[in-house]
């Protein structure tokens, strides 16, 4: 199987008054296409930071990061942004939907930045609404949905650009167990049927075990 991303000695730190604080330290990772990875570790161990760096939302200070064969550490901001927007989907614990937009508009939002025509966008949105069984909710605003439904919309939004990699930061953290189960079912389905590579950050042992392997972080280092 092809390698989707690979890091070598990836390190990130911030300097504050008490000296240098390492957020990530010497991370060496190789993830193959189609893998379902769970990242675990206590609060402050660097899980979210790792996810943000892999998703190119954040930068790192040292080391190398190769994404689908491209050396991210040498790319310019604009090239990184292109790489990110065509290949990576994000899912957040707090859903991060735009309050002023309807469900359909929220899902459509990423396509606006792909230069897609209106007709194609509408078709794509209709498609995914159908697939997620939320056609009836398309004109509602996020505030009118339950947490599980909002996260469903968040996942739909992440998937509409057909990403190679799905990054999920505690996707079930704000949900009750039943809703959480449903979301995890969906992840497995996406991973197995559509071959989407998934990296999820989670606190739950049970959810973590749904993945192919678990990476454990402590103080910015991979311990397992």
């Amino acid at each position: 199987m092809n390698t989707i991303l690979k890091t070598k000695h990836l390190t990130k730190w911030v300097d504050n008054s008490s000296g240098r604080v390492f957020l990530l330290r010497d991370i060496n990772l190789e993830i193959k296409q189609g893998e379902f990875i769970s990242v675990m570790g206590p609060s402050g161990s660097g899980k979210s930071t790792l996810l943000n760096v892999l998703g190119m939302l954040d930068t790192f200070n040292e080391g190398e990061y190769e994404f689908i064969g491209q050396p991210v550490h040498t790319l310019k901001e604009r090239q990184r942004s292109e790489l990110h927007k065509h290949n990576i989907g994000f899912i957040f614990q707090a859903y991060h939907l735009i309050d002023e937009l309807t469900v359909a508009e929220n899902i459509e939002a990423p396509l606006l930045y792909h230069g897609m025509k209106q007709k194609e966008r509408q078709a794509a949105v209709a498609d995914i609404l159908d697939r997620f069984n939320i056609v009836g909710k398309k004109d509602l605003f996020p505030a009118q949905l339950s947490g599980g439904q909002q996260q469903l919309v968040g996942i739909a939004r992440a998937l509409i650009v057909k990403p190679k990699l799905l990054l999920a930061d505690e996707p079930t953290g704000n949900l009750n167990s039943k809703q959480g189960e449903e979301i995890m079912e969906l992840f497995n389905k996406l991973n197995e049927e559509d071959g989407v590579t998934i990296i999820q950050v989670t606190h739950s042992e049970k959810n973590a075990n749904r993945g192919d392997r678990i990476i454990e972080l402590l103080d910015g280092r991979i311990v397992k």
Binding site: L57, H96, A109
Partner: protein
């Protein structure tokens, strides 16, 4: 009370940026409004200090339906008072000047451009409120050779001596004049401005009637030389009086109708103008100064409105942040009156700070403002006017900018808030559109007025006004050849000519011109020149030739307009025209040139060339040679006019001076427009800062979804650009309509091209983008990871 005050000040400090924006906006607009109001008040106050102002009227006349002007013949008021019972009194005023005064051994030269003189009827001090420090208001002149000085002029002539009863010798046939009164200096806001006054009886004694030889000044209907003021009994109908005067003039002129050719007497009209309207309206009743007052009042209003809108917008925009506090207060038992009071108190604190700063600002800029506006206005914080201005402004700001946001705050509670949000956003947007409309109208106006001013300044006048020095001939007139020869020795002087024109302007005209086929009395301006004049001034002939010197008195020239208006059937050359009981043959046609203000079209003109001596010299110099030319002229002046102040002027500067008021207005407009636009931008900056602040999270999410920096800036600016677009649609027709109206005042005007609107639109868009862009860029480049965490 004190508790609220404490909270209010704390709130202002906490919202630093918004407080600063509001205070700067309010300060600048308050100061500007007060400065404009001072200007407007100063203009409006002209001639209002006369106790009798309700009943004093200026007589304006019009001949041949050619527009009113404020000159009348001397007999008009004398006959009028005799026959029309509602006329209580009259006062005629004629310019009158001495060139020097001698007192004992001292000689004082008078510069008549600074110290002006007049001959007036003895009713002068009764009718007008010009208090006498010494002398008798009822009987100010003891005899024909009386003179009354202003206080400051008396001081410069007599020093510390008491001038009353002293004799001064004048250049009027060396006659003596006796001081019979001292008047206070005339106030600056008086249209009448004189420093010395002699009785009309003196002028009467020396009167020579050119129109009907033998007539006295009181009987002469021919020469339009006097400004005539009538005092009417209260409640008189001016239109009846106007009609009666017209009838009198018609009756008295009837015997001389034949002098005007076959058409007979030209139509004659009178219009009485109240003295308080004299400064603000043209003699024909159209608003001259009044238009400016209205313009400036509107600008002051706009600036105030723009600042108030800033205030309202920033306060309501931030309501979301305050509604929680208000909700808790209501929960704790505050009723809406208390909440409104607290919000109003915040407004008051802000206003108080703004007023203090505005007052400081006014004192600081006052000298510059006076210089630019050419006035001598004073601002005193404790004067009655300042109190009124502050009071009115305060009231407006409080009501407009304070009450609405306060009520808004009071009525908002968290559940209602979300529902009403949409409506208030629309309201806010509407206010921003109003602001932009104001700004765009001001930008377009500034552009158009600047273009018009430049157009006038650069307009081809038909002659070359650069490098020409003008000065009166006086004693040099009789020694023209000698002066000319002497001046021409200076290589920097390239031409010497004389004319009866003063500074290329003539007020000499006649209706008594006839020619073959003439049917209606036409007004012809008259000009007399020597043979060098056209060469010196670069005025060209379009046809024919100058007459020969020997037979020059039989020939005349016409300007192109005259040829057009005379509607001659045949070649105008060699046509015979008659005036002043003489016949002249047209020898040539002169290209049209301007001899009046450019607000007037070129009128028909008869030009007569001769070797005679005229009153004004025109000297053309080389570009670098002005200084040496002036030295030569001064030498001549000292030789031939030792008793006169050396006075000269540059033709191009005289020309500029004609438009001084317009240029000053243009400059003020520039400044005020700039301020208005800056205040709008300030408000816009506040709004976009706020928008960016509230959208931090959304921007972060969008960046995660793949939005580029450009996408984000676009998103933030688009909202405002749409508002700009709507504002343009409203502002352009508005600006076009009123500027087109304004330009009608100019005989020579630019047309308002579409590109002016394009330019104004671009300026607005660029200004908007600059204002919005900075904050938008800041928001767009923020790290999305951090933005998303903001919760």
């Amino acid at each position: 009370m004190f508790y609220n005050l404490k909270i209010a000040i704390r709130n202002l400090r906490r919202n630093g940026l918004y407080s600063v924006i509001n205070i700067i906006g309010l300060t600048v607009s308050l100061a500007t409004c007060i400065l404009i109001t001072l200007w407007v008040y100063d203009e409006w106050s002209y001639d209002r200090f006369h106790a009798n102002k309700e009943n004093i009227y200026l007589v304006n006349t019009s001949v041949s339906n050619e527009g009113f002007f404020d000159h009348t013949p001397g007999a008009l008021s004398v006959y009028g008072k005799e026959e029309i019972p509602v006329i209580k009194d009259y006062c005629r005023i004629s310019w009158f000047s001495f060139n020097y005064l001698r007192y004992n051994d001292r000689q004082v030269l008078i510069d008549n451009s600074i110290n002006r003189g007049a001959a007036v009827d003895s009713s002068f001090f009764r009718m007008f409120t010009f208090p006498l420090i010494e002398g008798d208001i009822q009987k100010p002149f003891a005899g024909d050779n009386s003179i009354i000085f202003s206080e400051s002029m008396a001081k410069s002539v007599f020093g510390d001596e008491n001038p009353m009863g002293r004799a001064v010798r004048t250049n009027w046939s060396d006659e003596y004049f006796y001081v019979t009164g001292i008047m206070e200096d005339m106030p600056k806001n008086s249209t009448l401005q004189y420093d010395y006054i002699v009785p009309m009886n003196f002028m009467k004694r020396h009167w020579v009637s050119y129109f009907v030889p033998g007539k006295t000044l009181d009987e002469d209907f021919g020469e339009f030389r006097f400004s005539t003021y009538l005092e009417l009994y209260p409640g008189s109908h001016t239109d009846e009086i106007e009609e009666q005067i017209v009838n009198i003039v018609g009756r008295e002129m009837a015997p001389y109708a034949s002098m005007f050719g076959p058409a007979g007497l030209p139509p004659f009209n009178i219009s009485l103008q109240q003295i308080t309207d004299q400064h603000l309206y043209n003699p024909d009743g159209t608003p001259g100064g009044m238009a400016k007052i209205r313009l400036f009042a509107v600008i002051a209003g706009l600036i105030l409105v723009i600042a108030c809108i800033n205030y309202v917008n920033l306060v309501t925009a931030r309501i979301g942040k305050r509604s929680k506090e208000m909700g808790i207060r209501k929960f704790l038992g505050a009723n809406w009156i208390k909440i409104v009071r607290q919000a109003m108190q915040e407004t008051c604190v802000m206003l108080f700070i703004s007023i203090v700063l505005a007052t400081v600002l006014i004192y600081v800029v006052m000298p510059v403002y006076n210089q630019i506006s050419g006035k001598n206005m004073e601002f005193s914080l404790f004067s009655f006017h300042a109190a009124i201005i502050y009071g009115v402004t305060l009231f407006c700001v409080l009501v407009l900018a304070g009450l609405y946001p306060s009520l808004f705050l009071a009525s908002s509670n968290s559940s209602k808030h979300t529902k009403n949000k949409g409506m208030h956003v629309v309201f806010r947007k509407a206010l921003v559109v109003v602001q932009f409309v104001c700004s765009i109208v001001l930008i377009v106006s500034t552009l158009v007025i600047t273009l018009q001013m430049n157009f006038i300044r650069k307009k081809d006048l038909g002659y070359d006004k650069e490098n020409v020095i003008c000065f009166p001939a006086w004693g040099m007139g009789n020694n023209k050849e000698a002066v000319r020869n002497e001046l021409q020795k200076n290589p920097d002087i390239t031409g010497v000519a004389t004319a009866d024109f003063e500074n290329m302007i003539t007020h000499n005209f006649t209706y008594g011109v006839t020619w073959q086929g003439s049917d209606i009395a036409t007004r012809f301006s008259m000009g007399w020149f020597d043979f060098d004049f056209f060469d010196v001034m670069n005025i060209r002939l379009t046809d024919g030739a100058f007459p020969l010197e020997a037979s020059a008195d039989k020939y005349c020239l016409l300007n192109e307009t005259a040829v057009r208006e005379m509607q001659l059937q045949e070649d105008p050359l060699n046509q015979i025209i008659n005036f002043n009981n003489q016949s002249y043959t047209v020898s040539g046609i002169v290209r049209d040139f301007h001899f009046e203000s450019l607000s007037q079209p070129i009128l028909p003109m008869i030009l007569i060339c001769s070797k005679a001596n005229y009153n004004n010299f025109y000297i053309r110099t080389t570009t670098q040679g002005t200084k040496s030319a002036l030295a030569s002229i001064e030498t001549m002046w000292k030789k031939y006019c030792p008793n006169l102040i050396f006075s000269y002027s540059f033709l191009d500067e005289n020309f500029e001076r004609l438009y001084e008021a317009d240029i000053q207005m243009g400059k003020l407009l520039y400044i005020f427009a700039f301020i208005a636009i800056m205040i709008s931008c300030l408000g816009l900056f506040g709004l976009v800062t706020f928008t960016a602040e509230t959208k931090t999270k959304e921007i972060g999410i969008r960046k995660v979804l793949g939005a580029s920096v450009g996408n984000i800036i676009n998103m933030l600016s688009k909202e405002f650009l749409i508002l700009v677009g709507i504002a343009m649609l409203i502002a352009f027709p508005l600006a076009y309509y009123w500027l087109n109206n304004m330009l009608q005042d100019y005989a020579y005007r630019i047309s308002i091209g579409w590109w002016i609107f394009v330019l104004a639109g671009l300026i607005t868009i660029v200004l908007t983008l600059l204002t919005v862009g900075f904050q938008a860029l800041k928001a767009a480049t923020a790290n999305p990871v951090k933005s998303i965490k903001t919760e």
